[in-house]
Each structure stands twice: as C-alpha cells, then as structure tokens.
C-alpha cells in the first residue's frame, strides 16, 4: 500500500515528496537529451511549424520517436522504455518549450496511448502501441463533439453492431493530431447510452478528417473534426467492455491532465529565457530594466509560482509511480491506480496552467510594446498558452470536481476528514470544508484552498531538503498562497480572516537567480 493515499495530503504531512532533484544521473542525462533536442531541432523550426509547412511536424515526431521520446513510459513489452511517470513527465516538460510541438507529441505519447495501455487487451496493445511508442505512427484521442465538450459523456456518436463489426457514426470535434494521426481512440455509445471505446485506423472506410480549425494559438498543431459515417470497425478493436468506455476515456484524461501540467510549464521556461534576456539588454532612464524593482518582482513571482507548480507535478508523478508499481498490472488494477490520484492530477492541471498564464503574461509585460508585436517571441507564447486553461477539462470543471471528490472520499471512508493543519492554508481548508454550500462558486473556492494546501505542503517539504534559492521560493510562494487562500476562505464562509505576518519575500535574491539562470530556479 502506498504511503499517501489519494487526497491523503488533506489530513497528513508526507515526510518527503518526489522531485526532480531525486533523479539519478542517467535520468538527468535523458532530460538533458530532451532539452538539447528541443533547442536544436524544435525551436529553430518554430515559425515554420506555426505555418503548418507540409510534412514538417510528422518528420519531427518521427525524429523524436527514434530517440525514444514517444514512448518513455510505455511498457517495455509494447515497444516503450518502461520508465517512471516522473521521468517521462520531466522529459515531456523539456520537450515542451514550443507548445505546438508539445501538444502533438503529448497527445501521441500520452492520451492516444493511455486508453490502450491501461485497458487494451494483449493483442490490441501488441498491434498498436509499438508503432506509437516508436513515433512511426501518430495517435489521436477522440472524445469531444460539437454538443459535448466538458459534458464529455453526453456524446452522441453511435456504435451499431453489424455482424462481427461495429458501425460508428458521428462527429468528433477538436481532435488534436487529426491531420497526421493513423490511430484514433474513439468514444461512442452503444444503444444510445453505453459509452464504449474503439481503436480505429485512419484507413477505415467511412472515417474522414475535415478541414483544420483556425485557432488563436497552437497554430503548428493539427486540430480538426473527425467525421464518422458508418465507419466499419472490426469487433476485435473494441477496447475494454461495452458500457465501460468512460473508464477508458476518463482515466486516460486523469494522467493526461498531469502530463498537460508539465506541458504547460515547459513554455514558461521559454518565456523566462526571453524575458530575462530582454530585461538585461533593454535600458530605460540609463538603467537596465532588470534593475527596476517592479521588473524584478515579476521574476521573483515567476520563480515562486513555477516552483509551486513544478513541486505539485512531480510529487503527483511520484504518487502515481508508487501506486502503479504496487498494482498487479491487471485492467482492474490499472483502473484503480489511475483513479486514485484524480484530485491531485486535477490540482496540478489548474496550478500549472494558471502559473503558466500569469508568468507568460508578466514576461510579455517585460517586453513592453514589443511584447505586443508578433516580431517578438512572447506574442506566440501568450497565444499558445491560452488554451491550457481550456482543454483536458476546463479549469472550471476541475474546480467543480476537486472539493466534491474529496468530500465523497471522506464520506466513503477513503480519506480522513481532519485537516493536517500543517500550514495556514491547511487550517483554512480544514475550517472551510464543512461549510461548503451548493453554489459552484463556493465549491470552486474550496477547491482553491485544497490545491493551495497541496502545493504549499509540497514546497515546504521539498525546499526543506534543498535549501538555498528553493527555500526562498517556498517562502515567497507561501506568502502568495496565503493571500489566495484567505480570499477563497472568505468566499466559502463569508467571514473575514486575518493573514499571518508574511515570511521574507526574497524579491532580489530570487530575481537575481532567475536572471542569471535565464530560467526557473
């Protein structure tokens, strides 16, 4: 049994958390290789990728696949490298400096495979996973429809039995990788109500890919509708069981959300690189703008927010690695493992995508008017980042979910009801929990308290082992989290709350660290 069960953070302080400092030297070498690949092969093509130059992206995915990047945590038995979620996620983070590339890679190495990895039978896994893990084929995940987005299980695509085959009819929308994918995981309903998953090849008669969406950002990634008109799928390609497709779809998304969190802080690395470079070149009033206090504040905030998000992400990866390590590898075991940390995965998604939004917004501000032009790199990063808070479950549905799920786990005895009270945030969370009303605004604020509790608990434990700049980032992060928590507490309870005295903000120390490293501390 794992040391920290799902939602265990609420009532219990861990002795240690998984974090990137704990990687072995050969794991760090893998991350370094990913970083060099991104800088050498992806970033120089960013503008050409954005124009969707024919063949460029699939070629890049093929190259990434040759190096092992499309199957880091795919089981070895199916052509992957069988590495930990923590390492696979870290590698993905460093492959995510360009968001168009990362969403393409993230989907084909993540949610396009996960349904099969967790729920596919032996012959399905043997047939499909090796080509996806090697980058030889690109995968896609087809859940959303024109009338069912956040309400994912309200989908209308029909699956009708025809002899040994199934005929799929419907329209799938917002399908990442649609243009390039050869393997689609498709969700449809049998008898109008039983959600069922299928793996569908591109050359299936009746499957067509419509024109590309004209998007605000991620222009280099492919997003299009997949139309199914009595697409004939052999019976062997039904994944898991009729009526159990929601487990396939939603558990892939649990882990997908965690991966997306890492894919959201990857571009922050790029934004900080550009922002710190510009601030140390640009002079106003005869002074480099990196010397002005209000600019330094932005870098210090970025260090703290990044540290908070990064800590939550790798802590959650560590928990997943433990629970999957302890699982017997059966479909039931996989399902239980993928569900266990659904709250933590959602918390990472919200924490990371909102940190991404704030930091990239502030780095654009560092560029002043130049940031507002497409001549400079921040405009694209800003546009690309916007979708992070929308896809893989909007931040709103995640906020509606987190507090609700904790309450259910407590009610069913799967989590303890008393707060760990190991921080000011935790105390507020403990006091607020019994007072959450029905209004989504209160539920969302309660979720904020829980996410902040999860984050500051992680940064406290992690930074105590690291010291130095990490301890400073923790101090600043806690100050910020306390303020956010007080606001959320007031929303839940309608009562005022007094903030504790702030710890040191370390504005100049953190800013100097970020400016020197040209990235997060």
């Amino acid at each position: 049994m794992q040391t920290e069960p799902g939602c265990g953070f609420f009532s219990h302080t861990p002795r240690s958390v998984c974090s990137p400092e704990g990687f072995h030297s050969d794991e760090r070498l893998m991350v370094e290789s990913a970083s060099q690949f991104t800088k050498g092969e992806v970033l120089p093509l960013a503008e050409r990728l954005d124009r969707q130059e024919e063949g460029l992206m699939p070629e890049l995915i093929r190259k990434a696949g040759e190096l092992g990047f499309c199957g880091v945590d795919t089981p070895e038995a199916y052509g992957g490298l069988g590495q930990s979620k923590a390492l696979a996620t870290r590698i993905l983070e460093f492959l995510s400096l360009d968001a168009s590339f990362s969403v393409t890679l993230g989907v084909t190495s993540g949610i396009a495979q996960l349904g099969l990895t967790l729920f596919g039978n032996e012959s399905q896994k043997t047939e499909h996973l090796p080509a996806l893990a090697s980058g030889e084929k690109i995968g896609a995940y087809c859940l959303s429809e024109p009338n069912s987005g956040t309400d994912a299980l309200g989908l209308e695509t029909k699956a009708v039995r025809d002899g040994d085959d199934w005929l799929l009819t419907g329209s799938k929308m917002w399908i990442s990788n649609a243009k390039w994918a050869e393997t689609f995981l498709v969700l449809a309903k049998v008898d109008g109500e039983q959600v069922t998953a299928f793996v569908v090849n591109r050359d299936t008669p009746g499957l067509t890919v419509a024109r590309e969406e004209h998007k605000l950002g991620l222009k280099g990634s492919s997003t299009a509708r997949v139309e199914l008109e009595a697409a004939r799928v052999p019976g062997k390609d039904l994944v898991y069981e009729v009526g159990k497709g929601h487990h396939v779809a939603l558990n892939a998304l649990n882990i997908g959300r965690l991966k997306l969190a890492a894919m959201s802080i990857g571009p922050v690395r790029a934004a900080l690189f550009h922002g710190t470079g510009y601030a140390q070149e640009r002079k106003q009033f005869g002074t480099f703008i990196s010397d002005f206090g209000l600019v330094r504040k932005k870098f210090a905030d970025a260090a703290a927010w990044f540290y908070g998000a990064e800590t939550a992400i790798y802590r959650t990866c560590g928990l997943l690695d433990e629970v999957f390590g302890a699982s017997d590898g059966s479909t039931a075991g996989n399902r239980a493992a993928a569900e266990e940390y659904a709250v933590e995965c959602s918390a990472c998604k919200v924490l990371a995508t909102e940190a991404e939004a704030r930091i990239i917004d502030e780095m654009l501000q560092v560029f002043g008017g130049f940031g507002f032009t497409e001549e400079f790199p921040l405009a694209r990063l800003y546009r690309d980042a916007r979708v992070s808070r929308i896809y893989e479950g909007t931040n709103e549905i995640n906020r509606a979910f987190i507090a609700d799920r904790l309450a259910r786990r407590i009610a069913s005895g799967h989590a303890l009801g008393g707060s760990a009270n190991d921080s000011f945030v935790a105390e507020l969370a403990g006091k607020a929990l019994p007072r959450v009303g029905d209004h989504q605004e209160q539920v969302g604020a309660m979720s904020d308290l829980l996410m902040l509790q999860y984050a500051v608990q992680g940064t406290a434990v992690r930074s105590a082992a690291q010291g130095g700049l990490a301890a400073m980032a923790n101090s600043r992060f806690v100050n910020w989290a306390n303020g956010e928590a007080a606001r959320a507490y007031q929303v839940v309870t309608g009562e005022s709350v007094t903030l504790p005295a702030p710890g040191p903000a370390y504005t100049d120390e953190l800013a100097s660290g970020v400016l020197e490293l040209r990235g997060p501390i």
Binding site: D26, M30, S33, L67, I91
Partner: protein
C-alpha cells in the same frame, strides 16, 4: 579495429565560474559538468566508425574521482562498448595524464587513440602529443576527418595554409578538432543500455608526479569604464596625450 577514447570531465563550458577566494582553484559548487566537447566529438567519431564497421571495439577511459563515472556513462550511452575509470584524487597535470593513459593504452593495445585536441577547462593541448611521443606512435592533431584503412588511417587536418591529408600507420594518436562531426542527440534506449555495459574502476598504473603546479587562480580585473568622446579630433588629441599614437 580497437579504438580508445580518453574522456575528460570538465565544467560545463557555458557555465559562469568564479575562482575560489583563496585562489587554489575554481568554485564548482552547483556547477554542471560535461564531457569535454572535443572528447565528445572523438567519442561520436569512434561510434560512427563502429556503425560502419561493426567489428570495431571502443573503450572510453577517464582519470579522476568517482564523479567521472557520470561522463563515462554518457560515453557508454553515445555508444562506447566499455568504459574504464582510473580512479584517483591525486593532483594531475598533462604529463601525469599522458603517462597514465600510455600505461593503459599499452595494456589495451588499440589501433587508434582518438581524443579531443584539448580540454575546454585548461586548454593545455598537450596530452595527445605527449602520448604519441611516449609511445613512439605517429600522431595527427587537429583532425577534421578520419578514414580508417587496413593497418593505416587517413586524416585530414585544417591548417593555416589549407587542408592537409596525412596517411599514417596504426597504431597512432589522433586528436580531433571542432569540425570533425556534430555529436548526436543521445537516444534514451542508448542511456538505458549503458546501465548494463561494463564500467571498470582501477587504481593508477604509474607513479608519475606533476611537473606543473597551480600557484594562484584569479579572475581578470574588471575593465575600467570607457568614456565617449565628441569628435575624431578629440579622440586623436587624447590618444596622442597618452603617447598611444
């Protein structure tokens, strides 16, 4: 064909480093270490030779503390068949390193010693040449192309007067220049495979002692600030007054 590739662990050439306050060395706390980039080029070339001729066997060797294992594992991940660490905490200079490598090479008996022309930390550019002299082997330094033949190699090298092509008998020493190749991105399966490749540790093979001693290390004094002059005439007057023109 057998190729020995000496690998040096150096401070990341892009890292900012400061001398220790007492001038006895560099402050390397928290600094990243890499394979000397010229040695990485040599390792890459050895692996490319092996890819063309699978009978080739490559051995990476390093001298230093246990931390050098990290760079040897990287060499194995690039594709070395075997790695050896000559483990020591003794002070080393070029002559000691050359003597140790010579002792090692005499035992392993490679056809080629392929190594960086110099290391990016102290830029001494001596070890390859010293080894060739001690071994009595032919050498080609600053190589930009290496073509192995039967019992001989052809080496192209860039010089101030143009490109030279040398042919020499093996065994020999070849030191690599920057243009020989572009090292590959290291594939993740290669890193995993490297975990199970042999990495042997042994003590020193000679009692050679350094001929060079570091007496003091200091940062360059900061450059005094310049000032702007209004005209060419003012510049000339200023230069003349200082006796510079």
């Amino acid at each position: 064909m057998k190729i020995v590739v000496p690998i040096k662990r150096v401070v990341d050439p892009y890292a900012k480093v400061k001398p220790l306050a007492d001038g006895t060395g560099l402050d390397v706390a928290g600094v990243k270490f890499e394979i000397n980039p010229f040695d990485e080029i040599a390792m890459e070339e050895a692996v490319r030779i092996k890819e063309r001729d699978p009978s080739t066997y490559t051995v990476a060797v390093s001298i230093g503390g246990p931390e050098c294992e990290e760079q040897l594992r990287k060499a194995l991940a690039i594709g070395a068949d075997e790695a050896v660490l000559i483990e020591t905490t003794d002070g080393l200079d070029a002559s000691v390193i050359a003597a140790e490598l010579v002792a090692f090479v005499q035992e392993v008996a490679p056809d080629i010693v392929l190594m960086g022309k110099q290391s990016t930390d102290d830029d001494s550019n001596q070890v390859g040449q010293m080894m060739a002299a001690m071994l009595g082997w032919p050498q080609a330094t600053f190589a930009c192309k290496l073509t192995p033949g039967v019992g001989e190699v052809t080496v192209d090298r860039e010089t101030d007067s143009g490109e030279e092509s040398l042919r020499m008998k093996t065994p020999c020493v070849v030191t690599t220049d920057l243009r020989m190749n572009q090292p590959r991105y290291i594939a993740l399966p290669g890193i995993i495979k490297a975990r199970s490749k042999p990495l042997a540790k042994r003590g020193r093979g000679t009692s050679a002692s350094p001929r060079v001693r570091l007496t003091h290390l200091a940062a360059l004094p900061p450059r005094p600030p310049g000032r702007k002059v209004a005209s060419v005439d003012e510049l000339l007057t200023e230069l003349k007054s200082r006796g510079l023109v």
